[in-house]
């Protein structure tokens, strides 16, 4: 059987490889986050908690992984994100239809209005569901983990992505992390552009 012809290498920083859920959650030292430990901490808090951190610090990625892990035991709903009032209605309906013990996972908690937050909390309490959220600042929910970033973390993420073929160096990684003040999402977008630029030249 003949092998397929060579094709252009994919950009390792494309959304396909870097979107939340595609990257193993890492801590600031670049080591994998202890998900079982976080889950036991969450269960100790009646399955209520908040993942706190600035833009691009890996909160959503961690939420997606925790939601997947919860799905096999408690059952999880989400991760959900409310972008409009219509979303809020749909999400409230989903919570009210969820089984007791389900953990409702919501991204960007602080961007929801107060009324929506209270409604979601009331609906989750009514259904005896847990609530796991991401937020830029501490919330009324117990903080499960504070996400921080570092050049070591970005380097570990890049090492786990498809091969860059040497076009992205450690200096690029450090520079991107520094230029975007630790915002990994922006740093990865920056590395995407560098990869494309060098491929074009």
């Amino acid at each position: 059987m003949s092998s397929p012809p060579p094709r252009p290498a994919p950009n390792p920083f494309a959304t396909r490889y870097t979107q939340p859920g595609s990257i193993v959650p890492l801590d600031a030292d670049g080591q994998p986050v202890d998900l079982p430990l976080l889950l036991s901490r969450l269960r100790a808090n009646d399955c209520c908690g908040a993942i706190v951190g600035p833009h691009g610090s890996g909160k959503t990625n961690l939420l997606v992984h925790l939601a997947a892990a919860l799905a096999t035991h408690e059952g999880s709903l989400g991760p959900l994100r409310i972008r409009s009032h219509r979303d809020a209605v749909g999400i409230l309906r989903s919570i009210l239809a969820a089984a007791a013990g389900t953990v409702v996972c919501i991204d960007s908690w602080e961007q929801m209005g107060l009324a929506t937050r209270l409604s979601v909390q009331a609906a989750a309490a009514w259904q005896r569901c847990g609530l796991l959220v991401t937020s830029h600042a501490a919330t009324a929910l117990p903080t499960l983990m504070e996400c921080r970033t570092s050049p070591a973390m970005l380097a570990a993420i890049v090492a786990a992505l498809p091969d860059t073929g040497g076009s992205i160096t450690q200096a690029d990684i450090a520079d991107a992390c520094d230029r975007h003040a630790g915002n990994l999402r922006d740093a990865l977008a920056d590395l995407y552009d560098r990869f494309e630029s060098r491929r074009s030249s």
Partner: protein, 448 residues
Amino acid sequence: MRLPRIFGKKRGHRRTGSEAWGSFGDGLFHGALVCAGLVFGSLLISGVAVPEWRINHDFVAARGRVLAKGLVKRTVDDPLAATTATWRPTLRVRYDAAGTSREAWTRSQPSTGSPDRDAAAVRLADWELGGEVPVWYDPADPAAVVLERGYNWWMWLLALLLPGALIAFGGSGLARAVRRWGRSEEALAAATGIPGLFGPRTPASPTATDLAGLPSCDDLVNSPGTQLRYRLPLESPENWTLLGLGLFAAFWNAVLLVLAVGAGLEFTSGRVDWLLLALLVPFIAVGGGAIALVVRGLVLAAAVGTTQLEISDHPLLPGATYDVLLAQGGSGRIRQLTLALELVEQATFRQGTDARTESLVVWRRQFDAWSDVALLPGARFEVRTTITIPADAMHSFTSEHNAARWRIVVRGVPARWPAFVRIFPVAVYPAPLPQPHQLRQPGRKVPA
């Protein structure tokens, strides 16, 4: 140390997790809801609805003589509250049932009764011993006799709503679980197009067509040109910005006027509210600035004049050449005027805690340029030129989060005014030319 990863570096193969148990649990839960709704509904129908319906339809009317009367107490164990009691009047009546004289205590409809004993006693006093009352008896069981008929509508509503809601919730969830059971991303995308809110990709419409991803050009061909076939619409966000700024300036200064009139009236009556006057100063500055910006925008728009572009055909095809008519209005002199064709890629990223759209011009070719263009009031600068779409050009493409858009861009550098840019979107289709009415838009997200 290499970290584990979800996507392998070697593309092509990957194992995916099992959703079967998740779907099973989901289906089990919703199935239980459906069963609960059916059981609850059956109990309400058999215990309330059917007896009430029989009383109103099957029971036979008769006259009864009151022999005795009393109150019946009924206690109910309520798990959410204390034990409650209800009271209802009952009469011992003698009546004629199918030629046979009978005596019996009247029954009440299952849902009647009052928690207030005194109210029930007052009602009981309305009946006199030895008096005659209308009664209805059951022809199948003549000993069953009632004093009242009619429907308890709130009980009927309850009988329909609660089990109905359980069956609807559970049924929809069960149908969803059955639909998703063991089905892949492609199967779901092909069949329904309903992703999770956070699904990694946006499934498209279920019907694949030959023209997926092509934008419609209906809005680009609905204006006939004066010399060429179509006049292209202008994509001009500046106009909307100016309109928005104008509305803001009008609203702001109207509020300011009300405050200023109030302050002026106080001033003429001899009182000076210095705090109000101090607060008015920054408000006046903002209002004045907004008016200045609007006036500047209007003057620029009037001075530079409108730009119109007509084209000999549309949509455009790779390798084809088209006549273009450029018409520039206004007055004064334009040092340089250029006409270029551009391909812009646009990508929208909405996950995480922010949403952003990035645009990048990946191809640009200038087709013509004119220097020292003199614009005369009342006349337009008109010039004809041609553009050629490269034979290997990518066609226009649009999906929900990604696009490749073609556009004709006119840039001008007036002698006395700031430079301006006018953008005219065009659509490039792959050959052979499809019929516009055949177009479908892919990637439309259906809310989960």
